[in-house]
Symmetry: C3
């Protein structure tokens, strides 16, 4: 089932990103004392959830249903978290970098898939952002937390900036490869700078008085 060919750089980055996404989900599930099955489901949802939502909206078969490698890498992530539990914090910088590489690659891949299906650029940028960022939202819904990327430093915005760069570079007639690689690097760069300098979007301020809706929630 797994071919013995040497994987391309694209494939290596794809697997590294899948692993990093799945590990982020599995770690948060561990913090909530999920069992192995629950932790696997949260890990796999983090890794493939964004691309699945994209494919369902685009009306095509979800990408992971044609190749078991994504489920296998999510399983490796589970074993990794179990075995290296005590060392995960020390690996934080590595996993952050792998996560950012995944974010970059998934964004560009999602964008290109939408363009190939003849959707306009504004849909493609949204699909790219969803591919990169929606898995983390689904992860947080499953562990019953407010989605982290709605409150923390820049994450999905990196995907949007990369997507806009892709559109401009494509419009300027750079080739497919240059356009894809450059915009992926922009996602990566924005994400790294955001964490390094703790950049975040402004928060919305609460209204001075509670709205009726708010009151009825209490």
């Amino acid at each position: 089932m797994i071919s013995l060919e040497i994987p391309s750089l694209y494939q290596i980055f794809d697997f590294v990103g899948t692993l990093a996404f799945a590990i982020s989900g599995t770690r948060l599930a561990a913090a909530k004392h999920f069992d192995w099955f629950g932790a696997y489901v949260v890990g796999v949802t983090t890794a493939i959830g964004g691309g699945t939502l994209r494919d369902v909206l685009l009306g095509v078969t979800p990408f992971w249903m044609t190749a078991p490698i994504y489920l296998i890498f999510s399983g490796i992530a589970l074993v990794w978290v179990v075995v290296f539990r005590k060392y995960l914090v020390k690996q934080n910088n590595t996993w952050f970098l792998f996560d950012a590489i995944g974010l970059a690659l998934f964004t560009v891949a999602g964008l290109q898939k939408a363009l190939q299906l003849d959707f306009p650029y504004w849909v493609a940028i949204m699909m790219g952002t969803m591919t990169g960022a929606a898995g983390g939202v689904l992860r947080d819904v499953l562990i019953n937390e407010v989605p982290l990327i709605f409150r923390k430093e820049i994450y999905a915005i990196a995907c949007i900036i990369g997507g806009l760069a892709f559109m401009v570079l494509d419009w300027l007639k750079f080739g497919t490869e240059v356009t894809a690689i450059s915009s992926g690097l922009i996602v990566l760069l924005v994400r790294i700078l955001a964490v390094k300098y703790n950049l975040s979007l402004p928060m919305l301020k609460d209204e001075d008085q509670p709205s009726p809706d708010e009151e009825s929630r209490k």
Copy 2:
């Protein structure tokens, strides 16, 4: 991209409803201290979530992927909440009315779309109700709250009553326009009366003893 033609009354109500739905999501996101991106995602999910669920279940391309106007109106909603933060409570009656107009229009539009795809009436009424009410459920899942419409005054029931009215009027051979407008007005009326007289469905009573499931949750 935006045509300069004069919008029809249908389009005006569609935009007004989209704006009202998006503002309801954005306000709740603000109360949870989301950042601008998170608030936009919650607003857009509230506005287009119901119709997206409907279209995915019907097996057609989600409506908002063919016209960027829904994403634009959700952006206007975000700006509105930021700029008019201090005045939103005073605007409550207006936004309630716009929300009810949206509920009516989305319900009828969802119902008609299912009928056009040759689904039977019971599916169409469900799709209409989903188009009107499911966006609010998805909003509450994203902000990690128990869905408001499962506990508060009549909301989705207004969609169901309007849907049943549509079926009866259609069966009585009223024309398409009379049927659609009348049943939309019924949704609007039921929703306004429900809030004015604080009408709600009976709550389910808890069991006297906790069930085993309940116990294990503690």
Copy 3:
């Protein structure tokens, strides 16, 4: 709409399972003081959510949109919970058995549907597990709780074991009926043994130090 033919044993088990799943959702909604509409939505989501997710991923029309019987049985579940509120705890063993029968039947039905659409076995086992277990996850998302099956005794694992048994029996050239019935019985047996002997998967241990993600959540 409902035919007067004598239902097959398959249909009886299908309805019994639907009823048990819907009752589990409705009871949890009652414990959260949902109104009748909310309780019905949670019940119906528990009953048809897994199969709906499966059908959306497989790219076919959700099964319940072609026959209203599933919505009707969810309505019966609501009435049952309202009427027999005081006796539900005493009925726990019965409903547990019916729930396990539903789990077995839904798993095998989901698996067979994926195989009929020419997906490979690893996809089919996943679809079977999803058909059986994902409705409960969606139920817990709607009532804003951490999904029970990610932390409690063996549930989805019973589906996976039954799915693997199906694959082996099919490979050994047992006929369709023997394969389907045997693997369904295996799901049922594993589930009953899991509850009787309180079998569960190991939990993931928390990391010794909080990860940066965890810290920022506090």
